[in-house]
């Protein structure tokens, strides 16, 4: 970016140099002090010079002289020399003689006086340059006062040349200077028109303009061949500086639409050189006319913001999707061209404008950062909390939590309390720790939720108060939630720290896992979700292990698995004599699992073949996953663990039955799917908007089906929106995708998670790094040999330690005042410096 800027700054300088008559070698000094005779005799025809006459002693005009001196260099660029002429005391000629002439500056071209300026019009460099150029460019820059004048000028120019119309609030300003300097260069190409009339500004702009800031419009009059046709106008959207004007005029001078017939990667246009993006409209022979019209339309919209090129697919062999119709090339080097499928021209425009916006923000930020860097390195928001959990908890700390339902346990009452209820849930937390406190808030909601549930006691232990108790219970990290039952090992909660998840865990934990069912009725009731009554009727899946008496090994593994899954899964177990009857009814042979989904609406039987607990747990977890789940914040991790890519349908609300049916077909189609087919309800999981926003610069129309390679490569592919979501369409799309025929719309960031902000560099503050010095060899001018009795290092092993321990303290006193940042403690500068610091305890 900055390289590009440099490039066009240098081209501008070059331009200026060409346009100006280069100052002659005679005028080496910018300002010669001459006598009037010398001055007038040296004037060359056609060469402009600004002269001012001053008596040898000039007490009053000093500040003016300084400004003149500093503008001399600027004016020299335009071939105007600045001359200070000393008036001899006896001189009474035209310029030296009159008292008021000494308060003026005179502009000559050759011998001819063009203008005389009162010194109060030349108050600074800007005003000097602006006024001098204004006087010299009298023909090139028209000054208009009325709308009629402006329209007349426009009409004259129509079909011939373009016009640059500038409004400046006052003459002699920096903006005025910029316009004049631009006119110096471009005055022969475009007609420049200048005004200071607010009425004119208002007449030429659409909305209410800010009259205090200068405006510049480029009027495309050359193209207006008919007298009735108005000149199109393009405003310069940036502040009036010479660079911005130059850039704007360069852009206006560029062809509206460039036709490209070469590799777009190699194309370079004015726009790209000036740091603006280039939009390609991909065209074909058949649609050339329409494409050309589109391109021109877009080009007018984007004039000054981006370039537009028409890229013929017939002439260039593009390895891109056939559907792609637009491409975007950004000025950053090495950035590949983005090929897009856009539906209308507005999308093209938003695409560019948003990019610009983003860029603008980034530039601003960069600038801010640079400024901050210059200001003060340390002070870049390091002391502002950027941990969302910590900040949220500290903002919430004044709210009193409803913790009455939760028993406070201490070292004294811990063991006695555990025996009071059948089940005691204990939250181990630390009262200073944010995550703990966040969980405590959810826990208090659980307590309200479970109020009155028999057999469950909710309690908490603050490990900051009772560290001994926590370490005795082997709690090394907080928060931790355990469920204690008399005579049994406590169960540690390992699920989401959410109110719902925790409540359901506690409720489920009330029944044994697996639950031993005694009769067929119980087993049937259990599968329907009606038994046992302690459990709330549960729309989710129930699991029943059916074992014959001969299948002990499987049963033990199942029971062990139950211990592990306790609280998370409804697990029942039936191993009565008539287990065969049950298994026959569902046509499985024991050992087997029966899965009842949706409260017994669908039943599935699975034969058990692996008897290791670990396999069993894994298998049960896998079986409990839905085939076409709705992804939510709390269930995503379960599906993430499968390590498969996601085929995910983002929907604004519930998905339609058709979509659901097709997706389900797709998901069921192959039992060992290589991907997770799922959907996301943006109403229920609004953070999905954040995902889409990261993937796409513009929000795609919903529902949108995406293929996300979460685990490998991170590419995101978008299912073509014009196709309907059917199993067939998706499958063929997936095939193309697998064959590498599709282009990803986005790629997940590969970035590492680095520290968000730097830390305080105390090491630097304490002592700048010094080469390793031995306390025995370093010498200070103030040290006398007597202060440090020489000791051979290691020569006296017995005394070595004490020697080292004593010597540093001597050194530190010797160093006081010597090294910066240290040893100044207690001295006056140190104390006064510290006075400026903020809060202090001793002041409280």
């Amino acid at each position: 970016m900055s390289a590009q800027k440099d490039r066009w700054i240098s081209s501008l300088v070059f331009l200026l140099l060409c346009a100006c008559s280069i100052p002659r070698s005679g005028s080496t000094g910018l300002q010669q002090e001459q006598s009037p005779q010398q001055y007038f005799s040296a004037l060359e025809a056609g060469k402009a010079s600004l002269a001012f006459f001053t008596p040898s002693v000039s007490p009053g005009a000093q500040p003016f002289l300084e400004q003149i001196e500093s503008s001399a260099e600027a004016l020299q660029d335009y071939g105007i020399s600045v001359v200070k002429v000393n008036c001899p005391r006896e001189d009474v000629s035209r310029y030296c003689g009159k008292e008021n002439a000494l308060r003026k500056a005179f502009l000559f071209r050759g011998n001819r006086l063009i203008r005389e300026f009162p010194t109060d019009a030349l108050f600074d460099v800007n005003s000097i340059v602006a006024n001098v150029l204004f006087a010299l460019l009298f023909n090139e820059v028209k000054y208009v006062e009325t709308l009629a004048d402006l329209e007349n000028t426009e009409n004259v120019l129509k079909g011939k040349s373009n016009m640059v119309f500038a409004y400046v609030p006052a003459t002699g300003t920096a903006e005025h200077r910029a316009v004049m300097e631009a006119a110096f260069v471009y005055g022969t190409i475009h007609q420049f028109v200048l005004t200071t009339e607010v009425a004119l500004l208002k007449a030429t702009s659409h909305d209410d303009p800010d009259v205090s800031s200068a405006q510049l419009l480029f009027c495309h009059c050359q193209q207006a061949t008919e007298p009735s046709q108005p000149c199109r106008r393009t405003a310069l959207g940036q502040p009036l500086t010479l660079l911005n004007i130059h850039r704007h005029l360069k852009l206006m001078g560029a062809p509206l639409v460039t036709e490209i017939a070469e590799d777009p990667e190699k194309v370079s246009t004015v726009h790209l050189q000036l740091g603006l993006p280039l939009v390609f409209i991909l065209s074909q022979r058949e649609t050339y006319e329409a494409d050309r019209r589109t391109a021109e339309f877009v080009a007018w919209q984007l004039l000054g913001k981006a370039g537009v090129a028409l890229l013929s697919r017939d002439l260039v062999d593009l390895n891109v999707l056939h559907r792609s119709n637009v491409a975007l090339k950004t000025p950053q080097e090495g950035m590949p061209i983005q090929y897009l499928v856009l539906e209308d021209t507005d999308e093209v425009i938003t695409l560019v404008e948003d990019k610009n916006k983003v860029k603008q923000i980034q530039e601003d930020e960069q600038q801010e950062e640079e400024e901050e860097d210059e200001d003060e390195k340390e002070n870049n928001n390091q002391d502002i909390q950027d941990d969302q959990v910590l900040e949220a908890v500290s903002r919430d700390k004044k709210r009193e939590l409803p913790l009455e339902q939760i028993l406070v346990l201490t070292e004294e009452n811990f063991h006695s309390s555990l025996s009071e209820a059948a089940r005691t849930v204990v939250l181990f937390y630390a009262s200073w720790e944010a995550v703990s406190l966040a969980v405590l808030r959810s826990y208090s909601e659980v307590a309200a939720h479970l109020k009155g549930t028999p057999g469950v006691l909710l309690s908490r232990v603050n490990c900051w108060d009772w560290p001994g108790l926590c370490s005795q219970e082997n709690v090394t990290q907080f928060p931790a939630i355990r469920i204690y039952r008399e005579g049994q090992r406590p169960v540690t909660y390992d699920g989401m720290w959410g109110t719902e998840e925790l409540s359901s865990f506690i409720l489920l934990s009330r029944v044994p896992c697996p639950l031993k069912l005694a009769t067929m009725e119980e087993a049937e009731g259990y599968l329907r979700g009606e038994f046992p009554s302690e459990l709330p009727s549960h729309p989710h899946t129930s699991l029943l292990g059916v074992f014959s008496t001969a299948t002990n090994q499987a049963r033990e593994a199942f029971e062990e698995a139950g211990n592990i899954l306790s609280g998370h899964v409804r697990m029942g177990m039936y191993f009565e004599d008539d287990a065969l009857a049950l298994s026959r009814k569902y046509s499985v042979s024991p050992p087997a699992l029966l899965l009842a989904r949706g409260g017994g609406q669908s039943m599935e039987g699975i034969a058990l073949s692996k008897y290791s607990t670990q396999d069993m747990v894994q298998m049960i977890r896998y079986e409990l996953l839905d085939i076409f789940p709705e992804i939510t914040v709390s269930n995503l991790p379960q599906y993430l663990q499968l390590g498969k890519p996601f085929l995910i349908l983002f929907s604004a609300g519930d998905i339609s039955q058709m979509e659901s049916k097709e997706m389900l077909k797709l998901a069921k189609g192959r039992p060992q799917q290589a991907f997770v087919a799922c959907w996301l309800n943006l109403k229920k999981t609004p953070v999905g908007h954040g995902i889409l926003r990261t993937y796409f610069s513009t929000m795609p129309s919903l529902p949108v089906l995406l293929w996300v390679n979460l685990h490998a490569g991170g590419q995101v592919f978008k299912f073509p929106s014009e196709q309907s979501i059917t199993e067939m369409n998706i499958l063929s799309w997936l095939e193309k995708l697998q064959a590498g025929l599709e282009i990803p719309s986005s790629t997940l960031s590969e970035e590492d998670w680095k520290p968000p902000l730097p830390a305080y560099d105390f090491l630097q503050m304490m002592e700048p790094p010094v080469p390793e010095l031995s306390p025995h060899t370093s010498s200070h001018p103030g040290d006398t040999p007597a202060q440090r009795p020489p000791k051979s290092p290691g020569g006296d092993p017995a005394g070595g330690d004490s020697a080292i321990r004593e010597e540093p303290s001597q050194q530190s006193t010797a160093q006081e005042g010597g090294s910066p940042g240290r040893g100044l403690r207690g001295t006056a500068p140190r104390l006064s410096a510290r006075d400026k610091q903020g809060k202090r305890h001793s002041e409280l």
Partner: protein, 675 residues
Amino acid sequence: LGLALYAGSLCAVSGAAFLYHDYCVIGAGPAGLQVAYFLQQAGRDYVVFERSHAPGSFFALYPRHRKLISINKQYTGKSNSEFNLRHDWNSLLSHDRRLLFRRYSRDFFPSADTMVRYLEDFASLLKLRVQYNTAIIHVTLEKNEEAWNGHYFLLTDQDRKNYKCSSLLVAAGTWVPNVVNFPGSEYVEGYETVSINPEDFAGQTVLILGRGNSAFETAENILGVTNFIHMVSRSRVRLSWATHYVGDLRAINNGLLDTYQLKSLDGLLEGDLEDLAIVKDKKGKLHITLRFYLEDRNISAGIDSITLPQDELDNFATRAPYDRVIRCLGWKFDFSIYNRSLRIMPGKGNIKKYPQIKPSYESRGTRGLFVLGTASHSVDFRKSAGGFIHGFRYTTRAVHRLLENRHHGVPWPSTVYPITQLTNSIIKRVNEASGLYQMFSVLADIILLRENATAFEYLEEYPVGVLAELEMQTGRKAHNGLFVIIMEYGRNFSGADKDVFYYNRAVGEAQHAWQSNFLHPVIYYYKRLPTEREMRLRPPDWPLPRPDAIHHIVEDFLTDWTAPNAHILPLRRFLENCLSTDLRNFFAESCFLFAFTHQKQPPFCQQGYVRMQGLVGSQELRHHAVQAGLLQDYTHTDFSGDRPPDSRDGSQDQLMRDHAIPVRPLQHLINAKDE
């Protein structure tokens, strides 16, 4: 291995008249009992020898006026037992909650008799193996290649009974009174025998030699009944509240300073006791003179022939005769019982009363001999609390851990945590750990990083002086960098001549934390373990070599370092930058977004959410986070893609990019103040 060695050594000594133990401890004072407790807990073969019939014989006699100056705080407003040990200077460490000193005395400065009773209970309740009435009078070495340290320690008691040990732990304290010899020193009474009845001093003029707590304690006792008291010592008075060293003069004993500075006849003088001489006149009054006046003269010739300073200098300060001269010069280690082969040498300079030891508390002369308790104070003399119960109870534990590793293959105890717990584990320790607090700049917590910094190992209270030997001493590996957590006073803040009450002495802002004066936690980060050479050549005044990065947690008036913005945030930034990672906490919703938009997850999400332990957070909390601009609220997003100009679109991006976090108005105020 220990067992095998044990069995082997039993065989080797069978037949000889030696009773063998792996560990012999000399002295059943606080340090001896403390190490006995740890040895017993570890199931080691040990014995403690005590010359008296009961533990803590030093306390049975001293302090003479029976008031301990170690504080015994009943209330701290906290129930945290570890924290409360910071303000309990008398208890020994044990698992038994009955053995807390505050259960023995309600006095803030308890009586020494209570200490004796406490130590008796400690030995008996914990069933420590103490052999009373056994005075070890000689210790020598027996070379043996099979022994743990290449030699056995042979101990002989007063009844010529012999004992043989693999490791000798000397917890004998410093109990030999310091004596100065000058002409007339026979008239001087010692602190150990002087009367403690003020009546005996009524109307007398007293000179006290020495300027420690025992001298002031003695003066305090008789201040009200004497004519006046003068106190002579070589060095100026060192006030413990100025030096932050508990061994210096404590405010509880400084009544004499008060009366001196308020012109009430009492006074302090500086002078070298070696130059003194005392002569007794016919009335029994004691006159101070200088040693060189006595040269070539016979004192027995009578007082009249002796020149007194006032004869030449008629305003000589101590020209008034004294009724009594009392010596209160402290104690030194009993070097006499150790054979020359053990090379137990006194230290140099002001630590000559202590035997020379390494920072690991092992003797410099003999491997396998460790010095514990008060006698080990040379490591931190006039710096930390290693000479006092509230300090050496921790260094003793550290020595025991070193021994467990060296002789029994039990590595230093440690806990492994995931990296997300890094900030928490440090905050927890600096807020409650008492060993770090009492033994500031001597004991340090060590965090050893695991590969890729995904986890770390936490070691408590390691002697920082032997940091270079960490791997060998602890049996833990430090290949991937380490943090050292230590507590420090501000450099140059403490000192006998320092004004510790100057205005603006306290630093309040985290960014100036390195200038903190009061005790505060400091964290050193090393990419690799410092070498011994680096330890030796460390910058003057630094407890450790120059680290790769350092962090000071700003001093706190309440020593409560849990403030989210002033304490935890800067610490997290420091840790993040050392490890080059992001240690922030995230709600599950953020992790969900990251899972779909980033190929890598921040550690908190990786170790929590992805493992189904996401922090869902209550509605209120998420609302607060949204308001803080740290969480994006997507619920009101419309689908048109037109974003309202005032929407907080950027905030999630901010969270990810970490730019432009909204500046709160307060911040401006602070910044403006600074500039």
